[in-house]
Structures are given as structure tokens and as C-alpha cells.
């Protein structure tokens, strides 16, 4: 009976969603603001990657909110799992030494790759979120590969705070220079080079640090609730 009801509900939602999208032609341009973004990104923001210029510049306020959402998730996770520890009798099998060595050897490479991704966010398909995630992946590898690995929470939280403050201050500086919040105050430079696009790379580097630190913190918090302490 319940199954029938659920199927009916799913069919209902599916049908109406399909109806809503049935009139949307696939593969054709529906751009209105998108066109403007594509045309103005290089001359007006200096960023080669249009998605980055939208995320950090045109709709930078969204990104500030997005960073906050992640920050809140990390904070909330810490609050919810505060004081929880795995039981000492839970036996966990150690990783093999090959995995340990491999993790240690690959970690710098992965971190470097993450840094590359978020430094080149305005030039290549990448950015702070992607780069930060890759750095967190490196930390995950250390957690998986090294026995009793614990991230340095104090350092992570300082990094996270500083990066967040950088973002907000970059916004407030726009106000302080008599412009609007988050507006670019630096010269645009030559599009296509690393030092270009004004404030975008700075914000994206900050976002990268922040996201990396937050996700690493989240992973480590979750791990320490399941992992027994000695």
C-alpha cells in the first residue's frame, strides 16, 4: 500500500517536472544574461574562464554564501559530533606499509596539483572549490594510509578563519575604496596570465585554502568519531 502511494507520488512529481521541461529545447541557446557574461568577461574582468568570472566576480555574493555554507557545515558537524570518540576496543586494521609509503609520496604531488588548480582558477577549468577538494583528497589519503593520522585541528581552523577573513575583507575593501561590495579594486592585467583578473585569483586562493581546510577538518572529525583512541 505504502509502495503504491509512493509510486503514485513519484509518478505525479515526475510527470509535472517533465511537463515543465518539455517546452525547453535541448541544445539551443536560452541565454540572456549568459550572453553578456560571455562577451564582457575578458574585457571587463580580465578572467579567461567565464565560469570563474561569474562565480567570483559577477555573482561573487553567491560564492561568499557558498563558502559560508561549507564553513557552517564544518562548524555544525563539529558541534553535532562534539566530544564523541570511538571506543578503544574497536580494533582497526593497519594499512599496509606500501599504502603508507605511497600516500606519503603522493601527498605533496596531490597538494601541488590542488594548488595549481586554484591558482589557475581564472585560466583553466578549475578554481578554489575544485582545488580545495583535491587538497582535502590528499588529506583523506593520509588518513587512509597512515596509522593513527590526525590532522592538526588548530592549524586547520586558523587557516580557515584567515582565508574567510581574506574573502570578506576583499569585499569590504571594495566599499572602502568608494565602490561596491566585492568590486574589483586591482588592475586587470593581461588576460591569460597568472597575475591578471584583479582580485579574482586572490579570492580563489583564499577559497581554495578555506575549502581544503574545511573538508579536511570534516573528514578528520568524522574519522575520529569512528576511530578508537589507543
Amino acid at each position: 500500500m505504502k509502495k503504491l502511494l509512493a509510486t503514485f507520488l513519484l509518478g505525479f512529481i515526475g510527470f509535472y517536472l517533465y511537463t515543465a521541461f518539455a517546452g525547453v529545447p535541448f541544445g539551443e541557446s536560452k541565454m540572456k544574461v549568459g550572453k553578456d557574461y560571455l562577451e564582457t568577461t575578458v574585457p571587463k574582468t580580465g578572467a579567461v574562464n567565464t565560469v570563474t568570472s561569474i562565480v567570483v566576480n559577477y555573482r561573487g555574493f553567491d560564492t561568499l554564501g557558498e563558502v559560508t555554507v561549507l564553513f557552517l557545515a564544518a562548524t555544525g558537524l563539529g558541534a553535532i559530533l562534539f566530544g564523541m570518540k570511538g571506543k578503544p576496543e574497536d580494533k582497526h586494521r593497519e594499512p599496509s606499509s606500501i599504502l603508507t609509503t605511497g600516500a606519503k609520496a603522493l601527498f605533496p604531488i596531490i597538494v601541488l596539483l590542488g594548488a595549481y588548480i586554484f591558482i589557475h582558477g581564472h585560466l583553466t577549468p578549475g578554481g578554489g572549490f575544485q582545488g580545495g577538494t583535491i587538497i582535502a583528497t590528499g588529506v583523506l589519503m593520509l588518513i587512509l594510509g597512515i596509522k593513527k593520522f590526525h590532522a592538526n585541528h588548530a592549524l586547520l581552523s586558523i587557516m580557515e578563519s584567515l582565508a574567510g577573513i581574506t574573502f570578506v575583507v576583499a569585499g569590504i575593501l571594495g566599499l572602502a575604496f568608494g565602490k561596491t561590495f566585492l568590486e574589483n579594486i586591482l588592475p586587470l592585467g593581461t588576460p591569460g596570465q597568472v597575475f591578471s583578473a584583479g582580485v579574482i585569483p586572490i579570492i580563489y586562493v583564499a577559497v581554495g585554502f578555506k575549502v581544503g581546510a574545511e573538508l579536511a577538518g570534516v573528514l578528520d572529525t568524522m574519522m575520529s568519531t569512528t576511530r578508537g583512541e589507543e
Binding site: 582497526h92 586494521r93 599504502l99 596539483l113 578549475g126 583535491i134 587512509l144
Partner: protein
């Protein structure tokens, strides 16, 4: 050149489908993970090829990241299976 791309792409697609067969068949969890591993490597190769087809150098980054994520996925599943986390 276009025919070459089609042939290579066809071979990759075939490989992907065959590996997916093992993924759905199982019978044990590690079997599926092996299939997943193979599929992720085939996809990495496919992504590099797509970069060539579209002539966009920047797409190679995507392949690089995809290979890292695939590797991490497999290691995570493996460590989970031996109750290591």
C-alpha cells in the same frame, strides 16, 4: 583523422561496456570495485582523447583530476572493506 577518433572512441566505449558487465554481474563486492577501477582508467583515457578531439589543452586537467579521484575512491573502498577506517 576523424575516422581514427571514431574507431578509437568505439574501442574505448566497447571496453567500458564490457567492464560495466562485470560491474553489474559481481558476484562479490571486490569484483565490482575492480570493474569500477578499470572503468575509471578507461574514462581517464577517454577524457584525454576528448581533449584532443576538441583541441582544448585545458581539458587535460580534468583527466588528471579524474584519475586522482578514481584512485582515491578505490583506496577508500578497499580500506573500508578491510575495516581500516
Amino acid at each position: 583523422m576523424e575516422t581514427f577518433y571514431y574507431i578509437i572512441g568505439g574501442i574505448l566505449l566497447l571496453a567500458l561496456v564490457i567492464a560495466a558487465f562485470r560491474f553489474f554481474q559481481g558476484p562479490t563486492a571486490p569484483d565490482r570495485v575492480i570493474a569500477l577501477d578499470a572503468m575509471s582508467i578507461i574514462l581517464t583515457a577517454g577524457l584525454v582523447m576528448l581533449a584532443l578531439v576538441f583541441q582544448r589543452f585545458i581539458y587535460i586537467d580534468v583527466a588528471l583530476i579524474y584519475s586522482i579521484l578514481g584512485f582515491m575512491g578505490i583506496v577508500s573502498i578497499a580500506r573500508w572493506m578491510e575495516k581500516g577506517i
